[in-house]
């Protein structure tokens, strides 16, 4: 009898402990995921423009990743559904340096060889409400100095040495996203729309849809 009551007490204490731990678990479950700076996933340089065509052509061999010198090519490892095992670039982590090795090595030409100024990975869009020089909170110019395509892609505003303005020549390589020191990632790579030059401020986000994935 004594042993029995002892066991009962142990069971009870475990039950109480478990029950008291329940809210912590539930809060973890129901707490929304923090998405302070959602990372983007942009296509590789030279990728077929049609997303479905790219999925059909890509055999998931991973050679684009294996030749990438800055190791910017990542893969949908356990998400992405139909995209699984296909490559993407997360510009906030590493930008593409437009070396073109991945286009050379791709066996199925899902990444077609393209001259670097004709690559279309998107278009950089700068949030002028966050960029330090645009809100007069300092001098920067990191994005302009890092851009591999020079003046034609991103340049300073006329008469101001530090406010960056994206030009038509931008191919969306994402190096500017990588170097930007502002923690809220004010530069986004958006899809280039036909016959339209992106307006580079927050209000124009309705026109420029960010990539759907």
């Amino acid at each position: 009898m004594k042993r029995r009551s002892f066991m009962q007490k142990i069971a009870l204490s475990i039950g109480v402990l478990g029950f008291s731990a329940l809210p912590f678990g539930l809060s973890r479950l129901f707490y929304p995921k923090i998405k302070a700076a959602p990372h983007q996933r942009i296509p590789l340089p030279g990728a077929l423009a049609d997303e479905q065509a790219f999925i059909e052509a890509c055999i998931g061999c991973g050679m684009c990743g294996e030749v990438c010198p800055p190791r910017c090519v990542l893969f949908y490892k356990h998400d992405g559904a139909t995209h699984s095992n296909t490559p993407y670039i997360d510009p906030a982590r590493k930008g593409c340096i437009l070396c073109g090795y991945c286009m050379d090595v791709c066996p199925t030409d899902a990444l077609t060889g393209t001259p670097i100024r004709e690559v279309d990975m998107g278009l950089a869009q700068i949030d002028r409400a966050a960029c330090y020089p645009w809100v007069d909170r300092g001098v920067c110019g990191a994005c302009v100095s890092v851009c591999p395509l020079g003046d034609g892609a991103i340049d300073f505003e006329f008469g101001n040495f530090y406010r960056p303005v994206v030009q038509d020549g931008c191919v969306g390589c994402g190096l500017c996203v990588e170097v930007c020191p502002e923690p809220s990632l004010p530069i986004k790579i958006v899809k280039r729309l036909e016959g339209k030059v992106a307006k580079h401020d927050v209000a124009s986000e309705k026109i420029e849809q960010p990539l759907p994935f």
Binding site: E56, C58, C61, R71, F75, K77, H78, N85, V105, P107
Partner: protein, 332 residues
Amino acid sequence: MKSTVVILQRHLNKLRWGVLTVVFGMLVLLPFLHLYQTYEAAHAYDLLLPGEKSVSDSMEWLTSPFINDPVEDLNKLKGTTWSATFFGLKLSDPLAVVGQISAGKIIYLPFLLTALIPVLLTILFGRFYCGWICPATFIYELNDSLATWLRKAGLPVSRRKLDFRLKYLVLGMGIVISAFSGIIVFAAMYPPAIIGREIYYAIALDGFGAGMVFFLMTLLFDLMVSRRGFCRYVCPGGALYSLLGRFRILRIKRDATQCNDCAKCNVVCQFGLNPLRDNFSQECNNCTACIAVCPTDALSFTVNVKDLDYQGPGHLGHNYRQKQSKQSKQAR
């Protein structure tokens, strides 16, 4: 008198293990070489962590005798068994081509040509890829040894027999699903492709992906359902190679005059074939395990497009002698 060629074939299994080890080793080595390349490309040796520095140092020690510029020169050897490039020669798995054609519904010739050499070799040598190159085979055979140890330790290891035609169904279903959905499903369920990319993910891109879970499940399938079950009954690649290599010219043949009916070949055959009854069929992956185990060197490679019919019991065995004496009694 047996010829030296036949006797030397006993050692082919060791050669095969060497090849499997080299292929698997390269799959592990190439991501490290790529890490070294990225460190060199960034000119950032001084900024590396101690672990990264040791990777960089060891890879430099390994490659410096052969190359001058690691960033450029190491690009000549890239890829996995799913698709690879050797010094400008691109090679792909035939299953990748089948999957891509069925998903995209277009035939892209340059990619088709990358599978030409593997297809020709498969037509000549049959399912040799499964036994000699496949990086998953390396692990599956070790897994099979583990099964043997588990069995010795008294744990139940199932060796159920299923219908080997199941894998052709898997291949057909894969093609149909690819055609309807536009996704290359083989890329997600073909163990060598999974192994190749998961090793790269693990070494270069912080951690395994979901494919590793699938692969571990196939290992469990092999342990708990059937011996080498995935290769024999599910693998779509194996199905494709079996079909291509149906009329292969290089076959293993049993020499009945040398055979003593010991049945060691049947025990050692992981694909559950029946060398003792001259039954290799298209499923044989030319792994040479039966040749290596044969105590009388009765099994050897021959050039022939068809298996022999059952030749009767081996002449050195008990059954054959009984039969002979019966016949001689009847003759008297």
